[in-house]
């Protein structure tokens, strides 16, 4: 699921990925096949997720998940650019 400026840039609210489970980078690589090859650099910088992206896996921020982040076949992954309000 994409939000804010990312939704605008890629022209979609959400895409369904054919996915049997695995790591986060692999998941985004798969997503890039639908969203375009540059999507991976939208969320990853080298081997690490970009610090200026808010990435949730099933509603949990990946920065709060201990250990390696696993994306299940039925998981919902949400990506946000930096945002705030009140």
């Amino acid at each position: 699921m994409l939000f804010a400026s990312l939704r605008e840039k890629y022209g979609v609210k959400e895409v369904e990925i054919n996915w049997s489970g695995g790591g986060l980078k692999e998941f985004f690589l798969e997503a890039s096949k639908k969203l375009g090859s540059e999507f991976l650099s939208e969320v990853f910088e080298g081997e690490k997720p970009r610090d200026d992206r808010i990435i949730l896996v099933d509603g949990r921020n990946i920065k709060d998940i201990r250990g390696k982040v696993r994306v299940k076949p039925e998981s919902v992954v949400a990506v946000f650019p930096p945002m705030a309000g009140g």
Binding site: A4, S5, L56, G59, N61, M83, G86
Partner: protein, 610 residues
Amino acid sequence: MGKILHVDLSSGTITEEPLDMEIARKYLGGKGYAVYLLYKYLKEYEAEGISPKDIDPLGPENVVIFATGPGTGIPGFPSPGRYHVMALRSPLTGSIGSANSGGEFGPFMKFAGYDLIVIKGASEKPVYLSVVNGKAELHDASDLWGKNVFDTCRILKERIGGKNTSVACIGPAGENLVMMACIMNDDHRAAGRTGLGAVLGAKKLKAIVVSGEKEVPIAKPEEYKEISKKLLDVMRQNAVTGEGLPKYGTAILVNIINQNGLLPFKNWQTGVNPEADKISGETMEKEYLIKRRPCWGCTIACGRVTRVESGPYQILYSEGPEYESVWALGSDTGVTALDAVIKANHLCDELGMDPISLGSTIASAMELYEKGYIPEEDLQGLDLRFGNPAALVEAVWRTAYKTGFGKYLALGSKKLCERYGHPELSMSVKGLEMPAYDPRGAKGIGLNYATANRGGCHVTGYTISPEILGIPEKIDPLTPEGKAKWVKIFQDFTCVVNSTVNCLFTTFALTAKDYAEILSAVTGWDLTEDEIMKIGERIYNLERVMVNKYGFTGKDDMLPDRLTKEPMPEGPAKGQVVELEKMKKEYYELRGWVDGAPTQEKLRELEIEL
């Protein structure tokens, strides 16, 4: 040298005094200086034999202070277009009254010649106050009484004319003493919370109009110029203050808060709204947004101008709604029609009411009704079910005019739910309805809601910033561990911002060190980061002393049972409750409080003389 205007509405006398710079050094200005003055009034009343608990929030003895600070109205100061309003007591809560607003009124009040305007007493007939280039007068307002906010602002701006003219006023809701009535300015800006519109209504003060061209002095202009440029560059390059907020406004939070599982839905029965996207910032930007509108001097420009082209909720020009309004009038009531939410918010502006308290009160009424606790005859045909947009819009104006069921909505959710025998359905703290974050999904904001001096308030200590948004760093929202420290820091720093009186949103990009630097240049004082944080802590504690005097103790630093005893039923926070007592214990230790009250030792440390 700054000045304070004193207006006694009972006698009609107007006097002034200079700002005491020793006090300003200890309390900065804005909220801080106002808290200091209010405490002085409390001591005077006690010396006269009047107990603070007996001060009637709607009586002439209540005191209201409109306050600007050292940063307000200075070109190049980060987001300098705000003012703060304090009152001895709020009619909604019985605790301290406190609200903050943007637009132009704050800077123009300074240009009119005064840093603070203190209002006491009550007029027998409706009046308005004009402050024009240092000259203050009271005028008959009988032709304005009954008029809505937009007409009042327009008429007074035309009548006074001049440059830099702004109006702060109440609408019909304030005149009718609705408990969540607010003070509006510049048509669509609101000093929203704690019912201060009703306080002015009881005083029969319809409006304050300010106008002037007085310059605001800067102690070290060359140094200021350099620091201002540096900080404005930081804000422009920051992804939030330079891009996210300007483009999408605050309603961009709807989806991220919902995806994290803490967007209160249908009176906080859950934190997941399956149709949140329909009322999101993205949808607003696509379907209703015309343009941005900044407060005076602000580079963030997060204000929205919106338009609903056609249909039953048509509005050809409106401003907002903000995230909180969208949540309260939308998600909390279950309404998914964004056009109806925009219309309801517009009516709140027109009639002068706080959409957070009103939306939450309507939502509590919806739950009461759906559970069969409100007899049909009380509703007088108002079909107050969750998700009913027509009932939402109708409930807004009925509340402002206290007509039909509106007279019960006008009480606020605490008294409304008590009336129907279910106080537990009021989602409020100290009588103030909580804003748009379910703390079962972010424990720190729960501790902040419980301990905020003015009641259920998010901006007092906005720990959503680290817990959900990752600013300045990411902390786990679902643990209660370590939250007390964050809540205290945010509460103290917010006091600094509200005493500088500029916008809290600057803190997404700027630090306490930045504030110390730029305030030093403006004031000529040699302020350090530690000193301004101590100033913030001092203000928070003196305010708490007053709250204690009104009878509030540690037991009132609470949360509704729904949040501490009913596990979140679904979503990423499923199964969670707020471990409030554990966090409170740690918080009181850090604060140096016992049973919700500062110790004498803490007050001495902060150089607070009682």
